[in-house]
C-alpha cells in the first residue's frame, strides 16, 4: 500500500468520525486502569470489558475507551492521549499510585471532563466528581469478625500480607484492631506479594515453624490457593481454616461446595470498575444526581450467599 493510499484512508476515516460526531451528540468516556498483571487486575480488566460491551449496546451515543497501563508514568501518558486524541468528556480512572497521578488527573479535570476515581484515592479528593471504592478497613474487620466466631482465647493464627502498600496496611491494621483483646495469638505475619508461589512458600515455612496453627488469614485469594497447597502437603488440613479475600471464582466455587479448609471468602470486588463505569454513564443519561462517594461493602461470602458472587466466565 502506498503512503498516499494510507493518507487517503486516514482522511476518509476521520471524515466519517467527524460526521458521526456532528449527527449525534457522541459522548466519549475514557477508562484508564492498570494492566492485567495479576489475578485481581485480570478480573478488573474483564469486568471493565464486559461493562463496556453492555453500556455501549444500551447507549449508542456513548463510546467507552479502555486503556491499560504498566505503571504510573505510563498511565499519565495514557491520560494525556485520552484528552488529546480521544477528546474525552469523562474519565474513569483507577490510579496506579495516588501521589504521582493526582496532577495528571487534575489536568484532565481542567479540560472540563467529569472525573470518576476508583479504588485508590487521589491525594486531593476535590478533583473527583465520583469516587467508587472497595473497603479495605471493612475487609479487615469482617475477616477478623469471622475469625472470632471460629476461634477462642489462646488459639493461634498466622497472617500472610500482600505487598507493602497503604491498602495492605489498612487491611492489616483494621484486622489487628478487631482481634485486639480477644486473646487470639498472631504468631507472625509475612508478605506474600499477592502471589500463589509466595503464598505457598511462606505457608510452608509457617508450617515448619509453628506446630500449632488454628487459623490463617491470607487476605487474598491468590495467596490462599498457595496456602491451601502447602497445608495439604503437610497433611494438616484438619487442624486449621483459611480466610482469603477478593472473590476469585475458584474460591467462591469452593465456598459454595462447602470446602472445610476455606469455608468463607471476604469480598473485595474487581467488578467495582463496572460500578464506576455505570455511575459515570448515568451522569450523562440519568436525570438523577450521581456525584459523591460510593464505598462498596466487603461482605462475608458464605455457603448460603456465595452464588451471588460467582462469575464462572471471569478469568478471576
Amino acid at each position: 500500500m502506498s503512503l498516499k493510499a494510507i493518507a487517503l484512508g486516514l482522511l476518509a476515516t476521520s471524515a466519517l468520525v467527524g460526521g458521526a460526531v456532528a449527527q449525534d451528540e457522541k459522548i466519549t468516556i475514557g477508562v484508564s486502569i492498570p494492566a492485567a498483571t495479576h489475578g485481581f487486575m485480570g478480573g478488573l480488566n474483564w469486568h471493565a470489558a464486559e461493562a463496556e460491551k453492555r453500556l455501549e449496546a444500551a447507549n449508542p451515543n456513548i463510546d467507552l475507551v479502555i486503556v491499560t497501563a504498566d505503571g504510573p508514568e505510563d498511565q499519565a501518558s495514557d491520560l494525556e492521549d485520552l484528552v488529546s486524541v480521544q477528546q474525552i468528556d469523562a474519565l474513569v480512572v483507577l490510579p496506579f499510585e495516588s501521589e504521582p497521578l493526582t496532577e495528571p488527573v487534575r489536568a484532565v479535570k481542567d479540560t472540563g471532563a467529569f472525573i470518576t476515581v476508583v479504588d485508590r484515592g487521589l491525594t486531593d479528593p476535590t478533583i473527583q466528581d465520583v469516587y467508587v471504592s472497595g473497603n479495605n478497613t471493612e475487609m479487615g474487620v469482617n475477616s477478623a469478625e469471622y475469625m472470632k466466631t471460629r476461634l477462642k482465647e489462646g488459639d493461634n493464627i498466622v497472617i500472610l500480607r500482600g505487598i507493602p502498600t497503604v491498602l495492605d496496611t489498612e487491611r492489616f491494621d483494621a484486622f489487628m484492631g478487631a482481634i485486639e483483646g480477644t486473646g487470639i495469638n498472631v504468631l507472625d505475619d509475612e508478605f506474600a506479594n499477592w502471589n500463589r508461589d509466595d503464598g505457598f512458600e511462606v505457608m510452608q515455612d509457617f508450617l515448619s515453624r509453628f506446630p500449632d496453627i488454628d487459623g490463617v488469614w491470607a487476605q487474598d485469594d491468590d495467596i490462599t490457593l498457595g496456602v491451601v497447597e502447602a497445608i495439604k502437603q503437610a497433611g494438616r488440613e484438619s487442624e486449621m481454616f483459611v480466610v482469603g479475600g477478593a472473590g476469585m471464582k475458584e474460591i467462591i466455587k469452593g465456598v459454595m461446595d462447602g470446602d472445610a479448609l476455606v469455608p468463607v471468602d471476604v469480598l473485595y470486588p474487581p467488578a467495582q470498575i463496572a460500578t464506576a463505569m455505570d455511575v459515570t454513564v448515568a451522569h450523562f443519561t440519568s436525570n438523577g444526581p450521581v456525584t459523591g462517594s460510593y464505598i462498596l461493602g466487603s461482605p462475608l461470602i458464605t455457603q448460603e450467599n456465595a452464588e451471588a458472587y460467582y462469575f464462572p466466565d471471569s478469568p478471576f
Binding site: 489475578g39 508478605f191 508461589d197 512458600e201 509457617f206 478469568p315
Partner: protein, 341 residues
Amino acid sequence: MTTVSAPEAAKPSRGFRLDLKTAGPLIALILLVILGYSLNPLFLGEGNVTNILTRSAFIGIIAVGATFVITAGGIDLSVGSMAAFIAGVMIIIMNWAVDAMGASLATVLFGIGCSLILGVGAGFINGFLTTKAKIEAFIVTLGTMGIYRSLVTYFADGGTLSLAGDARDIYRPVYYDSFLRIPYPVWVFIFVAIIGWILMNRTAFGRYCMAIGSNEHVARYSAIKVDRVKTWTYILQGLCVSLATIIYVPRLGSASAATGVLWELEAIAAVIIGGTMLKGGFGRVGGTIIGALILTAIGNILNLTEIISNYLNGAVQGVIIVAAVYLQRGSFRAGRKKAAE
C-alpha cells in the same frame, strides 16, 4: 581485559586459586546455615531442609543452563517469562487433551513432551537471533521476555490458567512425592547438576564455551564453530527452563502473568554468586548450585525469624548476595594477586 587474562596469569598457583574460588560460595552457604540455625533451630529440621532443596530446584535448574550462556559471553533475560509461557501452553495443551481423550498418564506425558519441544524451540530462537541475526543477546532476550510474558497474560485473559482437576491428580506426585525420601524435583535438580558439571568440565563443549566467553575472535580463529556453540548454550538454557517448568506446574497446577517473575535475575544472581564471571570466559556449575541454595535459604531464613522487619527483607537479601560475591572476589583475591607477583 585484566579479568579475562587473570586465570591464565595465575596458572602457576592454579591449585590454590581454584581452592579458594570453590570455597568462596561454599563458605557463604555454611555461614548462612549457621546463621539460620542460630536464629531458629528448626532451620535444619528435615522438613525445612527438604523444602529448601525442593524450592531451589526451579531456580537451580534454570541457573545451570544460564551458567553455559553466561560462560560463553551471552545472557538470557527471557527465562522467567519463558517458564511462565511454557507452563501456560503446557496447561492449555493438557486441558485440551483431557477434553479430547480423557485424563490419563499419556495426557501428562504429552504435556511434558510439548514442554520440552517448546523449551528447545524457544532456546533456539534466542540463539538463532543472537548468532545469525547478529543482535545483542541482551536485546534479543529482552524482546522475547516481553513477548512470552504478554502471550501468557493473553492466553490467561489476564487471569490464571489452571490445570483440569483429573490431570492435576495424576501429575501432582511429580512435585509432592519422593524417592528414597528425596522429593522428585530434587532428583531432577541433582541429575541436571551432574550432567551440567560433566558438560562444563569434561567435554570439548564446556571448553569451547569458556574459550568463546574469554575471547570470541580468538575462539573463531581457533576453528571453534562459535555460532553453533553459542546457539547450543541457548538451546540448553531453553531445555533447562522446560525441565524446571515440568516440575513447577504440578506444584500449584496453574500459570499466570505472575509466574516466574524475576526468575531471570535470580538465576543470573545464582550463577554469579557461584563464581562464574558475568562477562564470560569462566563457568562453574558447582558454584551455581550453591548460589541457588544460598538464594533460597535467605528467603527461608527471613520467613523463619521475626527479628528483622518484613520491610527490610530485600535489603537483607541484597547484603548477603553482595557479601557472598565479595568472599570470592574481594580483597582476599586482590591480596593474593599481590602476593603472587
